[in-house]
Structure formats: structure tokens, C-alpha cells
């Protein structure tokens, strides 16, 4: 079956909106690779390996693989402020995956957020970013996904309240917050900067976590990357602030962080640890450098004033620090180079919200295991050791010791976070 015929066949399918009973373009019994040649445009192997690279760059596996589940078979619970959404199966299984999807179906999903049946997808699937991808890149991704072993895994119904469970609502949302459109290079900037912007604003969908979201869960279309909430953690600002952004990071530190999960300043924690493990460690040096160049060009947000913290809180926090943290992070919060990350001058520690820090204190953290840094040094959680008030004091202290500055945290907030972590599907 030629590619053109396949395309036509797919269109026909879409038109008829017939699914299960229809014949389709692959033999279920045969291994998926058998038909590759027929499904691919010229030079399939080059395209497939590029697709594999892009799939990693987009960290598709993170959402489309459930814990302990088959890769890319979906069914991972994605907590959103509105309810739990379950990711879909993107293996080429004809009934439950994307086995019957044409290239055009796939491109429309990536570019417009509309699935093969014509239904709107929820923006938990980051099409507001993926829309910026070139058609070539999208088709390369499809070419790679087509090589996967098909896994039968039906989509679990999302747990959303009315009216959000009506997918039509998303048309309204799209009207308000979404513009489809491929990335347009800025001719005034270098090709490297543009490559970085393309990766960050497109496939990397960094803004999905690192940009602020409004009440409807939409980010600013400019994607300012000044920090945002994600899965009970706070993704710190990637903009230019020296206290809580990347202002003091040389490009090399960004490259090292994304490539290995750590650098002399900090190490990846929480959801970002997974991002490094599953995605950024596989990016090429030039791409990481391009990302660094782009991020370093982001302007600093105006540094907001931070209220000073009373001495009693700091004293209590300091004592808790000595008893629980100092052994590894050391007296001045300087950490141990090559082992335990510093807390002093850390942008993550001083971030607008302390949620990531609180999260790490409650549940512990593991430095990503990457090819360059296989160890995976870990810290235990203190959820059973310290109460809410103690964690609040400790967090406040760490955010205000050794020249750090950050808004104080109260016990009620720790209690809330503890609760939502306990309820979160992953936690």
C-alpha cells in the first residue's frame, strides 16, 4: 500500500467515522516493523531515528506511560486542577492506540488539538506548544511511534466534572487561549537562538510547567517562563532573575543540568528529575546549547519584595536544619560538590513558591539517573519525622538563610500540600 493510498484510505475512514468494523492498513499479527517500508516516506530509518530523538525531546513517554505499564501505552493519571485525566495509548494498536491514524490525523492532533474522531483534546496534552512543530518533525514522530510494538490498552475515562467532561467546551477554550501556528523564526536572532526557542516553546513544552497558568489552566501566549505550578510542585522561573531565575547561571550550567540532572548549583528534583531522566539527557550538545542560549535571552522579572521573617521562626528553623539537614547540605547550605546539592543561592529554593522545596522535604528526592551520572543519589522524606509547623519553619529558614530570600511558609500550607500529595495518584 503506497503512502498516497494510505492517506486516502485514512481520509475515507475519517469521513465515514467508522472504526472497529473497518479493515485497516496493518496486519495485527505481524510485528509492527514489517510494514515500516510501506508506511514511511523515503529514507525511513533516518526519519525514524529523528522521530525517536524528537519523542524523547518531547518527553512523550512521561505522560503516555503509566507506572509499571508498557511504554507509550498511556493510562497514566495526569492530575490537573480540574480533575484527573488519563493519557492515551500512542502505540500503533489499531483499536486502542493510533494504529489507524493517518499522518494527517496525527498532524491535526499535534497542531490543532483535535483527535482522529474530530473531538477536542484537553490541553493536558500540550498541543498549545506542539502546534509550533514543523510538519516534518511531527511526521518523524509518527514514523517512530509506528515502529513500536502495539499494546492493547483502552483509554480510561477522564475524571472531570461537568461541563469540563464535555469536550466541546474545549472549542471555547481554544477560542480564548489557543492559536494554532507553526514556529516562526525571528530573523533578528541567530539560528542557534531560534533553534533553542523552537525546542523550548515547541516540543520541550517547558512553559507547560514553568509558566504561570490562569484560572482556566492556560498560560500566557508569550510563554514568559517565569515559574508555574505543576503536579504539587513549583517549576521555578527560567527567566533572567538572579535570585529565583537563571540570571546567574552561565550557559554551561544549563547544558550540564539538562544533560546530567545536576550541576554545581543544584540538582533536578520532583517532576524535573523525570524530565531529565527520560528526555533532556538524550538531547544533543548543540540542542542543549541552543536551549541555553534562548533561556539566557529571557528578561528578568521585576524582583518582588519579600517580607522579612521573624527571628523566632528562623531560630526554630535553624535548629531543625542542624538536626535534619546539615549533615549533607552542610553548615552554610553549600552542599557537597559532586554529591549533595547546595541550598544557598539556589533559584529553586528561592522560587516564588516553596512548593517544590516542601515537596522534597516531605517525600524526599532522587537525583536523576543519567548515562553521565548513573548514581541516583537520594534523600529520604521527612513526612513522618516532622510536623507541618516544623516543615514550615524549616522551609522558611532555608529560604532565608545564607543570603537566600524567599516568602515565608505557614503550617497550613504544608498541611494542604501534604493532603494533596497524599491524594495525588502518583503520590
Amino acid at each position: 500500500m503506497s503512502a498516497a493510498r494510505l492517506f486516502g484510505f485514512g481520509c475515507l475512514l475519517a469521513l465515514l467515522a467508522v472504526c472497529a468494523a473497518c479493515s485497516h492498513d496493518r496486519d495485527e499479527a505481524a510485528p509492527s516493523t514489517v510494514k515500516l517500508g510501506e508506511r514511511m516516506s523515503p529514507g525511513p530509518w533516518g526519519q525514524i531515528s529523528r522521530g525517536r530523538y524528537l519523542v524523547r525531546a518531547g518527553d512523550c513517554a512521561a505522560c503516555h506511560t503509566a507506572e509499571g505499564g508498557a511504554p507509550f501505552a498511556g493510562d497514566r493519571a495526569i492530575p490537573t486542577p480540574f480533575g484527573t485525566i488519563y493519557s492515551s495509548n500512542i502505540t500503533p494498536d489499531p483499536d486502542t492506540g493510533i494504529g489507524r491514524w493517518t499522518d494527517e490525523d496525527f498532524y491535526r492532533a499535534m497542531h490543532e488539538g483535535i483527535d482522529r474522531e474530530g473531538d477536542h483534546l484537553y490541553p493536558a496534552f500540550p498541543y498549545p506548544w506542539y502546534t509550533r512543530l514543523s510538519r516534518d518533525d511531527v511526521l518523524a514522530i509518527k514514523a517512530y511511534l509506528d515502529t513500536l510494538t502495539p499494546v492493547r490498552q483502552a483509554h480510561r475515562p477522564d475524571e472531570l466534572p461537568w461541563p469540563l467532561d464535555q469536550r466541546g467546551v474545549m472549542a471555547v477554550w481554544n477560542g480564548m487561549y489557543f492559536d494554532a501556528g507553526t514556529f516562526q523564526p525571528d530573523p533578528k536572532r541567530s539560528p542557534q537562538w531560534n533553534r533553542g526557542a523552537y525546542l523550548v516553546k515547541g516540543l520541550g513544552h517547558c512553559g507547560a510547567c514553568h509558566s504561570d497558568k490562569n484560572f482556566a489552566g492556560a498560560t500566557d501566549k508569550d510563554d514568559p517562563l517565569t515559574g508555574g505550578f505543576a503536579e504539587n510542585a513549583f517549576a521555578p522561573s527560567l527567566a533572567g532573575g538572579t535570585r529565583d531565575g537563571l540570571g546567574s547561571w552561565p550557559e554551561q550550567d544549563i547544558v550540564q543540568y539538562l544533560g546530567t540532572g545536576r550541576n554545581g548549583r543544584t540538582s533536578a528534583a520532583g517532576p524535573m528529575a523525570e524530565v531529565v531522566e527520560d528526555s533532556t539527557q538524550y538531547l544533543s550538545k548543540p540542542d542543549l546549547q541552543a536551549i541555553a542560549v534562548y533561556l539566557k535571552s529571557l528578561p528578568a522579572r521585576k524582583d518582588s519584595a519579600v517580607a522579612s521573617v521573624d527571628k523566632d521562626t528562623l531560630d526554630r528553623g535553624a535548629a531543625l536544619y542542624v538536626d535534619n539537614c546539615e549533615g549533607c547540605h552542610l553548615k552554610q547550605g553549600q552542599g557537597e560538590p559532586g554529591a549533595f546539592p547546595p541550598l544557598r543561592q539556589s533559584s529553586a529554593v528561592q522560587a516564588k513558591s516553596a512548593d517544590t522545596l516542601i515537596n522534597v522535604i516531605l517525600n524526599g528526592s532522587r537525583i536523576p539517573r543519567t548515562a553521565a551520572e548513573p548514581t541516583g543519589l537520594a534523600m529520604q522524606g521527612f513526612a513522618d519525622h516532622l510536623d507541618d509547623a516544623q516543615i514550615a519553619d524549616l522551609t522558611t529558614y532555608i529560604r532565608n538563610a545564607w543570603g537566600n530570600r524567599g516568602e515565608a511558609v505557614d503550617a497550613g500550607h504544608v498541611e494542604d500540600l501534604r493532603k494533596s500529595l497524599r491524594q495525588s495518584p502518583g503520590g
Partner: protein, 240 residues
């Protein structure tokens, strides 16, 4: 409920079963109140047995000018909890018969668990004391108690098939444990044992201090459950 650093969590972690009703007494020594409410105040010992343990450990480590003794340090409660748990039941010991006796170098060969040893020994000792002094051990004067303890240590008290020396050694071992183990286990209350000797507790990094030869270590005493375990225990009891 606030999330307290619950000592009960800690004890569960280390495999010690603690009846919720007795947490207060295990930590604070406020057992009069719970006893008055008809709540059982020990995990393993009967009340007469507890009287023996308190009296005997108070002689093994007496209160004096150097500080609290075993009783004030919570050693009786510690032993009680230990015997109620896997240690008291000898859960890790090989307990298959037959049970011949051997040489000292072959080690322990009795079929009794530590908890059973205490039960049998205390009954035997009180019998011995009533016969010799017309009083239970707890009712004796301290010099008489010392006399009995020395007799036990020398293997001179008849406890049936249990050598009194075996019991004495076990009691003394457990008493030292209760005085010197982490306060999280109910003994070493207010760091009584650690303050006596100058051990700061589970501090974790001495890179800076190890080369400061002869200098006292400056940080306050700390337990696995924090600096003021007494308070933590009260919370745990309250939370139960």
C-alpha cells in the same frame, strides 16, 4: 489531627507493638492517671512484675549526684515494651528442639524467650525474698535488694531450671540498653544516659569538629525523633 512526629510510628517502624492506651505512660511516667482510669499501663508486665523491675533497675543504676537513675530514665517502661515486641518473643532466634545443655562457649540453650525468662525469674525471686526476708523484692531495703542482686549475679538463687545468673545478665543488659539507647524507645528519658557520659546522640556530620582535638562538642543532645523527645511522646500519646 496535626501530623505529629509520632513515636508510635517510630516504634511501629522498628517492630515494637504498642497498645495505644499506654503510650502516655511509656513516655511520660504519668501512669497513675491512666491506672486510675482503669487503663492498662504496661505492655507486658503484670503490675507486681513492674514493681520488681522498677526496684531492681533502680539499684542497678541508682539516682545520685551524677543524675537520674534507671527508674527516672524510663528503663522499666523500655524493658516492658521490648518484652512485648519481637525481641521479647525471640522472633529471630532459632528455637527448634531438642534442648540439651552445653558448655558456656556454646551459648544460650534454654527454650525460654526473653519475656518468659522475666516472668519465671521474677516469680522465683519474689518467692525467694518472701522466704528469706518475708517481703517481695520491691519491699526490701536497698541494701537487702543489693544482696539479692549479688546472689542472682553469682548464680545463687534457685529459679528452677533457669540459672539466676542468666536472668541477672539479661536484666543488666536490658537495663543498660534502656539507659543508653535512643530515647525514641522510651528509656534514656531526657537523655539521662547520654548526658551522664557525654554522647550527643545521632549527630551526623563531624567533618569540621573531628580535627578539633580535645574540644567539647557544642550541639545540643538529639534523638532520632528530635531534641525534646519527652514532648514528642506526649503528643504521640495525645494523638492516640
Amino acid at each position: 489531627m496535626n501530623h505529629d512526629p509520632a513515636r508510635r510510628d517510630f516504634l511501629r517502624l522498628v517492630g515494637v507493638a504498642v497498645p495505644a492506651s499506654m503510650l502516655l505512660c511509656a513516655c511520660g511516667g504519668h501512669d497513675t492517671g491512666s491506672a486510675a482510669r482503669g487503663v492498662r499501663s504496661t505492655a507486658y508486665f503484670e503490675s507486681g512484675e513492674m514493681d520488681f523491675i522498677r526496684a531492681a533497675t533502680a539499684r542497678l543504676i541508682p539516682e545520685d549526684a551524677l543524675g537520674p537513675g534507671a527508674d527516672k530514665a524510663g528503663v522499666p517502661a523500655f524493658i516492658d515494651l521490648q518484652l512485648a515486641g519481637p525481641y521479647g518473643r525471640a522472633e529471630r532466634w532459632y528455637m527448634q528442639g531438642p534442648w540439651p545443655s552445653g558448655t558456656d562457649s556454646q551459648g544460650y540453650q534454654l527454650r525460654y524467650t526473653p519475656a518468659q525468662i522475666y516472668r519465671q525469674a521474677i516469680a522465683g525471686i519474689d518467692k525467694h525474698c518472701r522466704a528469706k526476708y518475708q517481703q517481695s523484692f520491691a519491699g526490701l531495703k536497698t541494701d537487702q535488694q543489693d544482696e539479692v542482686l549479688h546472689a542472682l549475679e553469682g548464680g545463687k538463687v534457685d529459679l528452677g531450671d533457669l540459672p539466676s545468673k542468666t536472668f541477672f545478665n539479661l536484666l543488666w543488659q536490658n537495663t543498660q540498653e534502656g539507659f543508653l539507647a535512643d530515647p525514641a524507645y522510651g528509656g534514656n528519658r531526657d537523655f539521662a544516659g547520654w548526658k551522664l557520659i557525654g554522647f550527643p546522640g545521632p549527630r551526623y556530620n563531624y567533618v569540621r569538629e573531628i580535627g578539633e582535638y580535645g574540644k567539647p562538642y557544642g550541639q545540643p543532645y538529639v534523638s532520632l525523633i528530635g531534641r525534646v523527645p519527652g514532648e514528642a511522646l506526649t503528643h504521640a500519646g495525645g494523638a492516640a
